[in-house]
Structures are given as structure tokens and as C-alpha cells.
């Protein structure tokens, strides 16, 4: 009885120690990540404002707009020019006060940073969502489903097909199929939009099977099934382009990865023991390689967020990439910063999650906290 309690106590103490180290490790990582995000977002704010130069452009814009407004309004036509001038000044001053353009940029940049970190994305300057909202949040959320649909479909397809195919190929490497995949791997040097152009050429113009761009037919069908069918039809070409561009290199790298792990001594040992292939694959190859697989899966999910500017441009897809490109074109800094901030947060959260999972699963990380 006493002995059992002692063991329990010991186990408890070990537990506590592990937990403390884990907390220390997690805390350190958390601080590092927050600082990382802080610096990254601040850099983005600096670049998107051209280090404050955008303000000068903005001021000129405000002045012209005010002058134009007063000149065009017939109510002010009879006013003497000095009064009109004063009116204009007052209008400009109002705008300047609203945007706090009279303060030095550095102060405002920290203010922007504070707002961005609180995810208070604010209002867009030029752009608005299709529903008419000027809130950056609404603008981004409106585009999100389109991007998630396209990139989610394509990346999930590429990921699972390539991991599965790579496992199959690593089982019989050196075969004709294996060599064909290796031979085709260099085709992935070209990005997806490049294949997109050819797919549009072949399957939209030479043989008009699929629409050349857009997400749904114009006007959109009322029937939900017809709507879904139309979206699927529009989805076919961009998804194919992304699939073709990534699949071979993806299979190749996973195959190499599995082969390297399949030649470890413990796998040879298992083979020598005469274990069945399937068991070797599941217990001796897949289990130790699980963490890189999970990592790349999660990073792929995060990668969805940024979309792909050019692929969306080529296929005229109303996603986040197109949004970002338009925002940059309009110099609409709140929208640019908003999408970068969300990307940074998602990435940091994923990295943190991965660190945490590794720390829990991998005993080596746990020890590191206690090593002096």
C-alpha cells in the first residue's frame, strides 16, 4: 500500500516536472512567435505605406478632391475666391484630422500596428465588398469561400494523391512507373498559372469543353444544383492546372522521403524478421514519418489562405489573391495589411500548434526544457 503511494507520488512528481518543462517551452515559443508576428506585421505596414510616402499621395488626393468638390458645387459659385479658399482649407483640415495625417508617420505606424495586432482591421479606403460594405473584415470574408474552394480542392487532392502514390512507388522503386514519375518531376518547374494558360487554350478555345474563367456562369443559375454544377465546371480547369503543376514533384519528394526512411536499419531489421509488408509500412515507415507529414499538411492548409495571385488572375477567379492584387493597385493599405495580418496569425498559430504537438509527442523536446 505504502509502496504504491510512493510510486504514485513519484509518477506525479515526474508528471509535474514534465508539465513544468512543457509549460516553459511553450511559453518561450509563444513569446518568440508573438514577437515574430509583431515584427512581420510592422514591416508590412512600413512597406505598404512606403515608409510614410503614401501619406503624401493621400494628402494630394484629398486636396484635389476638396478643390474639385467646391469648384463643381454651384452653391459656392458666387463666393469670393478668398472664402472659397478658406472653405477648401477647412475641408482638407477635416480630412487630415480624421486620418491624423498631421501627426508623424512613426506614431501612426505604431497605432496601426496596435490595431492590426488586435485584429481591428478597420475600414478600407477605396475598395468595398460586392455587398457594398467598406469594412476590411467583410471584404476579406466575402472572398474567402472562393479561395478556400479552389485551393482547398486542389491542394487536398494533390496532398492525398501524392502521399498515397508515393507510398505505392516506394514499395516498387525502379519500376517503369517509378522512372516515369521521376522523369516527369521536372515539369513542376513551371507554376500552375503557366499550365492554366495552356489548359485555357486547349480546353476552352480549341475544344470548348470548359469555361475560360470566372467561378459561375453569368447570370448565376437559380437552382442550387445547377449552381453547383456550374461552379464545378468552372473549377475543373484551375484545379487541373494546380494538380498538374504540383503532382509529380510532390510524388517525387514524398517517394524519396519514404525511400530514405525505408532504408533505415530498424526497417531492415523488421524485414529480416519476416514481418508482412503492410505492417512494416504502417508501423516502421509511416509512424516515424508522421510528424513531417502532418507538418507539411498543416503548412499546406495555411498556404491556402494567401491564394495565388496569378492563378486567380489567369482564371479570373474572385478569390483572395485577386483581392490582394486589386488592393495593392488601389494602394488600399488597410486591406493589404488586413490580409497579411491574418496570414501571419494563421501561420504563427499553426507553428505554435506544431511545436506544442511535437513537445507532447517527442520526448527529446521535453527534455530540452530541463537541460542546463
Amino acid at each position: 500500500m505504502m509502496l504504491e503511494t510512493g510510486a504514485d507520488l513519484n509518477r506525479d512528481r515526474a508528471w509535474m516536472r514534465d508539465l513544468r518543462r512543457l509549460a516553459l517551452f511553450v511559453g518561450k515559443r509563444l513569446v518568440a512567435l508573438v514577437v515574430t508576428v509583431l515584427v512581420g506585421v510592422y514591416l508590412t505596414i512600413l512597406i505598404a505605406n512606403m515608409g510614410g510616402k503614401v501619406d503624401e499621395l493621400r494628402l494630394v488626393q484629398i486636396k484635389t478632391a476638396a478643390a474639385e468638390q467646391i469648384r463643381a458645387d454651384p452653391a459656392f459659385h458666387d463666393l469670393p475666391s478668398a472664402e472659397r479658399e478658406a472653405l477648401m482649407q477647412a475641408q482638407v483640415q477635416l480630412e487630415v484630422d480624421r486620418l491624423r495625417l498631421d501627426e508623424p508617420f512613426i506614431w501612426r505606424s505604431f497605432d496601426y500596428l496596435y490595431q492590426a495586432m488586435r485584429l481591428d482591421l478597420g475600414r478600407a479606403e477605396e475598395m468595398h465588398s460586392d455587398a457594398g460594405s467598406r469594412q476590411v473584415y467583410n471584404i476579406i470574408v466575402e472572398r474567402l469561400p472562393a479561395t478556400l474552394l479552389l485551393f482547398g480542392t486542389a491542394n487536398l487532392l494533390v496532398f492525398f494523391v501524392s502521399v498515397y502514390a508515393a507510398l505505392g512507388l516506394s514499395r516498387r522503386y525502379g519500376s517503369k512507373l517509378d522512372r516515369a514519375v521521376i522523369g516527369l518531376a521536372p515539369t513542376s518547374a513551371a507554376p500552375a498559372w503557366f499550365y492554366g494558360i495552356f489548359l485555357i487554350l486547349l480546353l476552352a478555345f480549341v475544344v470548348p469543353l470548359f469555361p475560360a474563367g470566372g467561378m459561375v456562369a453569368v447570370p448565376p443559375p437559380d437552382d442550387p444544383w445547377a449552381y453547383a454544377a456550374s461552379v464545378l465546371k468552372h473549377l475543373a480547369l484551375p484545379v487541373t492546372a494546380m494538380f498538374v503543376a504540383q503532382i509529380f514533384i510532390s510524388i517525387y519528394s514524398w517517394r524519396t522521403f519514404f525511400l530514405i526512411h525505408a532504408s533505415e536499419d530498424y526497417v531492415e531489421m523488421a524485414r529480416a524478421k519476416g514481418l508482412p509488408d503492410r505492417l512494416i509500412e504502417q508501423r516502421y515507415i509511416l509512424r516515424p514519418t508522421l510528424s513531417p507529414i502532418v507538418t507539411s499538411f498543416l503548412l499546406m492548409l495555411i498556404g491556402l489562405w494567401s491564394g495565388a495571385i496569378i492563378l486567380e488572375q489567369v482564371f479570373n477567379w474572385p478569390g483572395l489573391g485577386t483581392l490582394l492584387f486589386e488592393a495593392i493597385g488601389h494602394r488600399d493599405t488597410p486591406v493589404i495589411i488586413g490580409s497579411v495580418v491574418i496570414f501571419a496569425y494563421l501561420l504563427a498559430a499553426t507553428v505554435f500548434l506544431l511545436d506544442f504537438i511535437y513537445a507532447v509527442l517527442d520526448p527529446r523536446v521535453r527534455i530540452e526544457g530541463g537541460r542546463q
Binding site: 512606403m50 513551371a190 494567401s306
Partner: protein, 458 residues
């Protein structure tokens, strides 16, 4: 003892590696493609100086005698077509007869040319130059078809330099019932061509007769008739009459230089920085690590787009940003992992024993050790950057003055080339991009299998 000694030995890893490389057919194909591209680049730079390429690509009057959106000649001939190239007749090879009158000279110029093609010209322009001091000469134009028909093309006063767009003459179009560049070359309409059916070409020798009335003694006019074709050269032309061959040729050195500099710039600096971090440890290593983490959060393409939109789209600025952002990339973590065990290697200790400084150890001992592993990465990176440049150009952020493949693609995209059926416009630059990508990737993959020790036995 050091580097040179090892390299001279017969089984140096480099020579051994290249000997192995020769056994991969894909590497040979890759090298051939790269050699071809380098040859093209050299030819482009030698045949057409930088400033001339820029001037040509700016367009305008330089290209007055080229058709708009003409496809390559070989494409048409391969598909069995017989589309006309651009035909030019100048008054230099014309028959001139002059009759003198009181105060007035009447000069007759006959511009003859043969037209034996299956398709109509795309455009018809007449360029006139006259020298006079006060009174402009007067010219009357007439079109003579092979079977003796005469079609008057109107009469007008001419200035010092003038361009008469015959194919845009509204009155003539109404009279012929067809656009002039078709109507003037068509078979007799009286036999009746059903509406919607295209008329056939009347082949034979045509003449444009110019009857000029000069009001001043010793004045002359020079005329040049240009019947713009439907095909041109090896690469065709774009919507501004520019010969695409200029861009395709000059795009090669630009693409190679951009890819090479960006790849070398990022990989070598990344490696050196990683090695320095590993060797000096402490705050330097920590700073490098944190910088890398910050940089991974920043999305590359949006930042490039931002820089391009807000600052300048000069290719050199873009290159600088790419290199700057590429230095602290995820690669640093990889090299760090490779270099950590090397730091403890006995040969480094030996170097320290003879008194080598930190810089010497980093540059002469640590970096060369991982360089072979770096080479495949470096070769496969080149096409990535080539495509990055093309991507920026496709977004409209290409260098404003330099002709590049990406800019041709961008023009094609904005002019809806695919929709209008100008496939050559897209296929030409795309094929070159693809070749570049394939060439470097094939070589890079083979190098990877040779130099990467873990892959060697697979």
C-alpha cells in the same frame, strides 16, 4: 592540406560527381537545352545591343512596315496555308514617265507587284513624300487589277510626308462593298458572291498608278506601297506591329541573368550566413534565426507586387528585393542542420590548431563542405526565379523598357490573344519558358541524385 590539394587528387568529389552525371540521359538533355539557351542569349546580346533592343521594343514608327498580329511564316507554311507576307513596292523600282507643261509637270508613277497568294492582305497603306516649297503637288491614284480593270482610288493634295490608309477608306469600302484590302484583290463580284461567303483572291500582277501634278519645277515625290501580309518572320508580330522575335531573343539573356543572379545571390549568401551563424553561435545565430522566422511570415509575391506598384518595376530593383527576401528563407534552417555536425568535425579542429581565424574557417572550410549539396538546389532554383520574373510581368509589373517573355505573355493576355486565335503569341514565350524550366530542372534533378549522398543508392 587544404582545398587545392583535395581538388587535384583524381577522386575529388567534384570530378567523381561529374563522371557519374554523364550516365544520366536527362542531365545530358538538360545541358543541351541550357547550352542552346545560352547560345541564343549570346547571339541576342551580340546581334542587338541593349540600347537598340530597348528602342525597338518601345515601338512606334520603327515598325511601320510590319502587319498587326501576323502569325509566324513557318506556322502557316507547315499547315499548308499560303498566306501573304508583307509586300513593299517603292517608287525607286517604279516606272516613271514625265510630261512637261507650262508651269506644271505631270508625272506618272507605276508601282507594280505580283500577288500569288491564297489569302488577302491584312492592310494596305501608301506612304508618300513630296518635296516642294510652296504649292503642294496633287496626286490621283488608280488601281489596276490583273485582268485590266481600273479602280480609281481618289485624288488629293499631298504634304511633305503622308500616309494614306487605303484599307481604311470609307468611301472606297462603300463603293466596293468590301473592305478595300479584300475588295481590291477579290475576284469579280458580278458573278455573285453569296452574303457571308468569303470572296476568292484574284492572283496576278497588280499596279498602283500615281498621276502627280507638280506645280513647281524640279520637284519629286517618293511613294511606297505596303500591302501588309498575314504572316511575318519566325515569331510573328503583336498588336503594335512589333516583331515578337526581338522580345523572344532578348528575353533569353534577361531571363537567364535574372534566374542566375537571383539563384546565386540567394543560395550562396544564405549558405554563408548560415555557416557564420553556426560558427559564431551566440547572439548572431539567434538574430539570424529570428530574422528567418520573421521573413517566413512575410509573403514574397505580395511584397514584390507592393514594391512594384508603389516604387518602381525596374527589373534590377525586383531582383534586389527577391535576393534580399530570399536570403533569410527556410533554406537557412536546412543548411544549419547540415552545418552543425560539421562544426565539430576533426578537420575544423585541425584548422583551428594551425591558427585559422573565424572568417577563414567559415568561408574555406565549412561552406565548401556543403557546396556539393547546394548545387542541385541552386540549379533547380534558377527556373523558379525565371518564372517569378514572368509572373511579375504577367501581373503587369514587368520592367518598363526591357523586352521579356513575361511581358509578351502579359500583352497577349491583355489583348485576349487566345480568344482572338493568336495562339502563336502565347505559345512562343510559353514554350521558351517551359524549355528553360525543363532544362534546368532536368539537370538539377540529376545533380541531386549524384551529389545528395542519401539519394545516391536509391
Amino acid at each position: 592540406m587544404s582545398q587545392n590539394g583535395r581538388e587535384r587528387s583524381p577522386m575529388s568529389p567534384w570530378r567523381e560527381g561529374f563522371r557519374r552525371l554523364r550516365r544520366y540521359p536527362s542531365a545530358l538533355v538538360g545541358v543541351l537545352i541550357i547550352a542552346g539557351l545560352v547560345g541564343t542569349a549570346l547571339y541576342a546580346v551580340l546581334a542587338m545591343p541593349y540600347s537598340e533592343a530597348q528602342k525597338l521594343w518601345r515601338g512606334g514608327e520603327v515598325w511601320y512596315d510590319l502587319p498587326v498580329n501576323a502569325s509566324p511564316v513557318w506556322l502557316d507554311r507547315l499547315t499548308g496555308g499560303q498566306a501573304p507576307p508583307t509586300l513593299k513596292v517603292s517608287s525607286r523600282d517604279a516606272v516613271t514617265t514625265t510630261r512637261e507643261f507650262e508651269n506644271v509637270t505631270i508625272q506618272q508613277l507605276i508601282l507594280p507587284f505580283d500577288f500569288y497568294y491564297q489569302q488577302f492582305p491584312s492592310e494596305l497603306n501608301l506612304f508618300l513624300e513630296a518635296d516642294f516649297t510652296q504649292r503642294q503637288p496633287f496626286v490621283r491614284l488608280a488601281w489596276h487589277t490583273p485582268d485590266g480593270l481600273e479602280i480609281p482610288l481618289g485624288a488629293r493634295r499631298i504634304g511633305a510626308a503622308e500616309r494614306i490608309s487605303i484599307s481604311q477608306d470609307q468611301i472606297l469600302t462603300r463603293r466596293l462593298g468590301l473592305p478595300p484590302q479584300i475588295g481590291l484583290f477579290a475576284q469579280d463580284q458580278s458573278s455573285g458572291v453569296a452574303p457571308g461567303q468569303s470572296p476568292a483572291v484574284r492572283q496576278g500582277s497588280y499596279q498602283l498608278v500615281l498621276e502627280t501634278v507638280h506645280f513647281e519645277p524640279d520637284t519629286e515625290i517618293r511613294a511606297e506601297l505596303v500591302a501588309y501580309g498575314r504572316v511575318h518572320g519566325l515569331a510573328g508580330t503583336d498588336h503594335q506591329r512589333r516583331d515578337l522575335l526581338v522580345a523572344l531573343l532578348w528575353g533569353t539573356p534577361v531571363a537567364l541573368a535574372f534566374g542566375l543572379i537571383a539563384a546565386v545571390g540567394t543560395t550562396v549568401t544564405t549558405l554563408v550566413i548560415a555557416a557564420a551563424g553556426v560558427w559564431y553561435r551566440g547572439w548572431l545565430d539567434a538574430a539570424i534565426q529570428r530574422l528567418t522566422e520573421v521573413n517566413i511570415i512575410l509573403p514574397l509575391l505580395p511584397i514584390l507586387v507592393m514594391v512594384g506598384t508603389l516604387y518602381s518595376t525596374s527589373i534590377w530593383l525586383m531582383l534586389g528585393v527577391v535576393v534580399a527576401l530570399g536570403i533569410f528563407s527556410a533554406g537557412i534552417k536546412m543548411y544549419r542542420a547540415m552545418l552543425l555536425p560539421i562544426r565539430e568535425a576533426p578537420y575544423i579542429e585541425a584548422a583551428r590548431a594551425y591558427g585559422a581565424g573565424g572568417g577563414r574557417i567559415v568561408l574555406r572550410y565549412m561552406v565548401p563542405r556543403v557546396l556539393p549539396v547546394l548545387i542541385p538546389t541552386f540549379v533547380t532554383l534558377i527556373p523558379t526565379y525565371v518564372f517569378l520574373e514572368a509572373s511579375l510581368a504577367v501581373l503587369g509589373l514587368g520592367d518598363p523598357v526591357l523586352p521579356t517573355w513575361g511581358k509578351v505573355l502579359h500583352d497577349a493576355q491583355t489583348q485576349s490573344a487566345l480568344y482572338h486565335g493568336f495562339y502563336y503569341w502565347v505559345v512562343g514565350p510559353a514554350l521558351l519558358l517551359m524549355l528553360t524550366g525543363l532544362g534546368f530542372a532536368m539537370l538539377g534533378f540529376a545533380l541531386d541524385r549524384v551529389f545528395n549522398p542519401r539519394l545516391r543508392n536509391l
